[in-house]
Assembly symmetry: C2
Homo-oligomer: 246 residues x 2
């Protein structure tokens, strides 16, 4: 136990020495959460990987740290969702399946004060990932804001980048990230965090725009599944006139 | 009158010799309609440019034909909206401002039988082009389908390409076009028509997806207006992993 405690302390010190912040990724044991944790760790951001099952999160975090294999001194630490929220300095990313969205938020609500909730959840239709079934609030981002209350800072982002892309560590993520939220500063801060992944990210305005941004994902899934297009794992890019590119 | 009639006949013959089809563009005297007419003519598609004011459409069509300046043997012909619908072999594109959307469709409804209506209209909020004000049906495309009846073939497309880009004839349009509609064949046919512009176009599924696709435009307008991004006239692209590009 002493050795283990010493190990943890040493690791924590190391991650604080080489990373300037720690973020939480809830639902972090899924493919999207794992890929994001790896990408953020490589970018020098320490990650508290949260799950309902803290032991599972800890085991997966250790696997991810092995995968990093010296690419990063920032550390991925696995724990339960509440522990991850408490470990987050500012940003709490939620990457749970839509079915667990509201329950996850309700469980952490009391611990979110002063933090920024970044909602990655897409309300895919239960039986059809090529369609959305938006909640009555209009989008998952707006539902999160309603559930957590207007004083809470909620940002929607990272909906349109596939788990495959996130986990393909040898490739640059060169699709774009569209973010939105009613708190301008919090949305800008989330955009800056996301840009650390080496990706272009844009503040796309208020939370109502999540009705569009979240709904891009099932369109991408539809194209990925289509036999008419020669690709899968598609993303979205903002195109600028005068630039070429695929 | 005899000379004029002879001129019209000669022109019509010429366009039919070198173009395999004629499409209508209603609201064609606006910047978007004009740019599209030029692009389609260059692609060998003859255009009946429709407007409520047929004389104005005829005058603008002549200007556009001069602009083409030998780039195309396909002809742009200006007339009133009903005349344009009648001239269209299959496709009737509607590029009117949102305020004129329903009235334009109601006025041509009886003449649309057997044709495909391609709706380009984005329901921008009256006082804020950075926001949508969707009709109760959910999108302009769905409103058009409801107004015209379920037997009519309605496709939503070409919402996210700027008039500036369309009119910059020396530059390739290399943003992508997202199309949707409840009639699979009609949507595929519209995609094929649009691909003649040398642009990538995708069938993105049923008309309900227009709620997303139409709403991309005000997000692009927001970015274009933002001082934080170094571009304007942005479009959207589907990004494929393994490809780079801006």
């Amino acid at each position: 136990m002493t050795l283990l405690a010493a190990g943890v302390t040493k690791r924590s010190k190391r991650s604080y020495m080489n990373s300037d912040t720690t973020i939480a990724i809830l639902g972090g044991t899924g493919p999207q959460g794992q890929g994001l944790a790896l990408r953020f760790a490589i970018a020098g951001v320490s990650v508290a990987l949260g799950s309902r099952d803290g032991d599972r999160a800890a085991a997966i975090a250790e696997e991810l740290n092995k995968k990093l294999n010296g690419r990063s001194e920032a550390h991925i630490h696995g724990c339960d969702n509440l522990g991850a929220v408490d470990a987050a300095e500012q940003f709490v990313l939620v990457a749970v399946p839509y079915a667990g969205h509201d329950a996850t938020l309700a469980a952490i609500k009391s611990r979110l004060s002063g933090k920024v909730l970044v909602d990655l959840v897409v309300p895919l239709a239960a039986a059809n990932p090529r369609a959305v079934a938006m909640p009555k609030e209009g989008s998952a981002t707006e539902a999160a804001q309603a559930l957590l209350g207007s004083e809470m800072k909620v940002v929607g982002a990272l909906h349109n980048v596939s788990a495959h892309t996130l986990n393909a560590l040898d490739e640059k993520i060169n699709c774009d990230i569209l973010a939105c939220g009613d708190d301008l500063e919090a949305t800008d801060a989330a955009v800056d965090l996301i840009k650390r992944l080496g990706v272009e990210a844009y503040n796309c305005g208020p939370a109502v725009n999540a009705r569009c941004i979240e709904a891009i994902t099932p369109i991408l899934i539809r194209l990925n599944m289509s036999k008419k297009v020669p690709f899968s794992h598609a993303g979205i890019r903002i195109w600028r006139p005068g630039h070429s590119g695929v």
